[in-house]
């Protein structure tokens, strides 16, 4: 018996996929047991799901048309639609995401340049990486909790929370993009004797600009998606309005309507962002691509007036 058992064990240990499956199954069972999850608890949930479903359907789209007097900050438009919870909430979420992306980008770019090992001395790049990692440790929801305590309920806490997370997350993507640039332009700049910040500012960042812009757009998209969550702790945006219906009234039909609105907006933004980003990612196209400077500064280095005089 024990001989057969040890033979089976040997057979399992010789087949890597089987071995992994066995180990994974044992670990999964142990954890499920530890968390006291049982199939009965899952089945108990079924009746609640039915109740939730019947209360949430059909979604109550009056959240799009009825004026809400309790928006924060107070809505001053004449139109009821513009002051409805869905429109106010979604607009706030978009605005928070926009500001957080802009501020996050402004802060993360210099930090990323300091964290890039090809642009900074070893001690600086390594310590900057730890700073960025520390900012990423807390998800934006926790940052939102902290800032709601510091600056009170409202969109400001949301902007600050999302900015913190954006810096940590975008900064990591940015220093990886900066480390990927060709080293020759940087050597030209170094041979010229330029200081490090100029090497980063005029050679590395423009060289990586396509990736940087694409990442920024991605970050905006990401912030819109996550911006809906932080409202749950009072940091503004559509989540705040959802929470208003959830506690204590449990108006699930209105919450579902808000979720539908959010879903539609997020899908639209994803699609726009995808199309715009494609223009920056595709390296094979022969079309002139929009450039970093053209977008952010709207001017060319030789001066627009000079281009006219050249003709």
């Amino acid at each position: 018996m024990s001989e057969r058992f040890s033979k089976t064990l040997r057979q399992i240990s010789q087949r890597p996929i089987l071995r992994a499956t066995v180990i994974l199954s044992i670990v999964t069972l142990l954890i499920t047991n530890h968390l006291q999850i049982t199939i009965w608890k899952l089945l108990d949930g079924w009746s609640n799901l039915k109740k939730l479903g019947s209360e949430a359907f059909p979604p109550d789209f009056t959240v799009l048309t009825e004026r809400a007097g309790w928006t924060h900050p107070p809505c001053t438009f004449e139109s009821d639609i513009l002051c409805s919870p869905a429109v106010v909430g979604m607009t706030q979420t978009l605005e928070i995401a926009f500001l957080a992306t802009v501020f996050g980008m402004l802060l993360s770019l210099p930090l990323a340049a300091m964290a890039a090992s090809n642009l900074s001395p070893y001690w600086l790049s390594q310590s900057m990486r730890q700073v960025l990692a520390a900012m990423r440790v807390l998800p934006s929801l926790i940052w939102a909790l902290i800032f709601v305590i510091i600056v009170g309920i409202g969109p400001l806490a949301g902007v600050l929370a999302m900015t913190m997370y954006t810096v940590g997350y975008l900064g990591k993507m940015q220093y990886e993009a900066l480390e990927g640039v060709s080293k020759e332009p940087l050597e030209v700049a170094r041979a010229m004797g330029l200081p490090r910040w100029q090497v980063a500012r005029f050679f590395a960042i423009p060289e990586a600009s396509n990736a940087l812009i694409s990442q920024m757009l991605f970050m905006f998209e990401y912030n819109v998606r996550h911006g809906s969550v932080i409202g749950l702790v009072g940091a503004g945006g559509i989540g705040w309005y959802m929470n208003h219906y959830l506690t204590p009234f449990q108006l699930y039909d209105k919450v579902l309507a808000l979720i539908v609105v959010m879903f539609v907006v997020v899908v639209i933004i994803d699609q726009i962002s995808l199309v715009v980003r494609r223009g920056f990612i595709d390296d094979t196209s022969n079309l002139p691509r929009p450039r970093w400077r053209d977008i952010l500064l709207m001017r060319d280095p030789v001066g627009t007036e000079s281009s006219e005089s050249l003709d």
């Binding site: 030209v188 450039r291 281009s307």
Partner: protein, 253 residues
């Protein structure tokens, strides 16, 4: 400038690069080149040839201060330090080191950075003089119509002109050019060579240029050296065409 030994020639021809018994490479146990003695003066074009992988680029990067010499001394532009003054050394790497997706104007303007003030660079507001000089050198290399074009969309020869225009605007004392003439048709190469001659003669730059083709290098360089067996030696055409260096001989036909 205080080095008496380096100022023996007329003052109009100051030494721009001086390597004395320099050992070059990355590993002290097996350096790429040993005992390099090389002096380049203002207005001189010096050619450097040798097989691929023998250390031409490393020699250039050592002269540029990007690689530390393993031994001996490397002095640039009359300073005892390997770190030269800001803007004193110009480098044109093998793949030119242009900032991709940026315009010709932007790339050429970068040559003026070394001479720009802090405010001009901090707010990236080039002065009128900088912009005018940029336009002037672009015109000099014949790319005026391409000023606002992205460098990615230029031909290989045009891209080299951009890199050269950048170096012209920088006006370094010492210009180091790596394989600047490779893969060009004869006529385009001629045009580029004329630009180098112009920089050496009219702007009194000292130029160290790596060229695969020693015979062509002979035609426009004041002196040509070759790297062979860890040594830098003057290039000798007769010796090369005899059997000792079949690869160079092939290239020279």
């Amino acid at each position: 400038m205080g080095k008496a030994g380096m100022m023996t020639a007329k003052d109009s021809n100051p030494v721009r690069l001086h390597l004395a018994d320099a050992t070059i490479g990355f590993d002290a146990v097996s350096p790429l080149i040993e005992g390099v003695d090389l002096t380049i003066r203002a207005g001189e074009i010096v050619g450097l040839t040798g097989r691929s992988g023998i250390g031409k680029t490393t020699l250039l990067r050592t002269a540029a201060g990007l690689v530390r010499p393993l031994g001996g001394s490397v002095e640039c532009c009359c300073t005892a330090d390997t770190r030269a003054d800001k803007g004193a050394i110009g480098l044109i790497p093998q793949r030119l080191g242009l900032v991709q997706h940026q315009t010709v104007g932007y790339n050429v303007l970068m040559g003026a950075l070394a001479g720009a003030s802090f405010l001009e660079t901090a707010f990236s507001l080039p002065s009128k003089r900088m912009r005018e000089e940029t336009r002037a050198v672009i015109e000099e290399v014949g790319l005026t119509e391409k000023t606002l074009e992205s460098v990615n969309r230029l031909s290989g020869g045009q891209q080299r002109r951009v890199a050269i225009a950048r170096a012209m605007l920088q006006e370094p004392d010492l210009l180091l050019a790596d394989e600047c003439l490779g893969e060009l048709d004869a006529e385009t190469a001629r045009g580029i060579i004329d630009l180098f001659r112009h920089m050496a003669e009219d702007h009194r730059m000292a130029i160290l240029i790596v060229d695969h083709n020693p015979v062509r290098a002979k035609t426009f360089c004041d002196r040509v050296y070759q790297l062979r067996g860890r040594r830098l030696i003057p290039f000798d055409e007769d010796e090369a065409s005899s059997s000792t260096l079949p690869i160079i001989a092939e290239g020279s036909v």
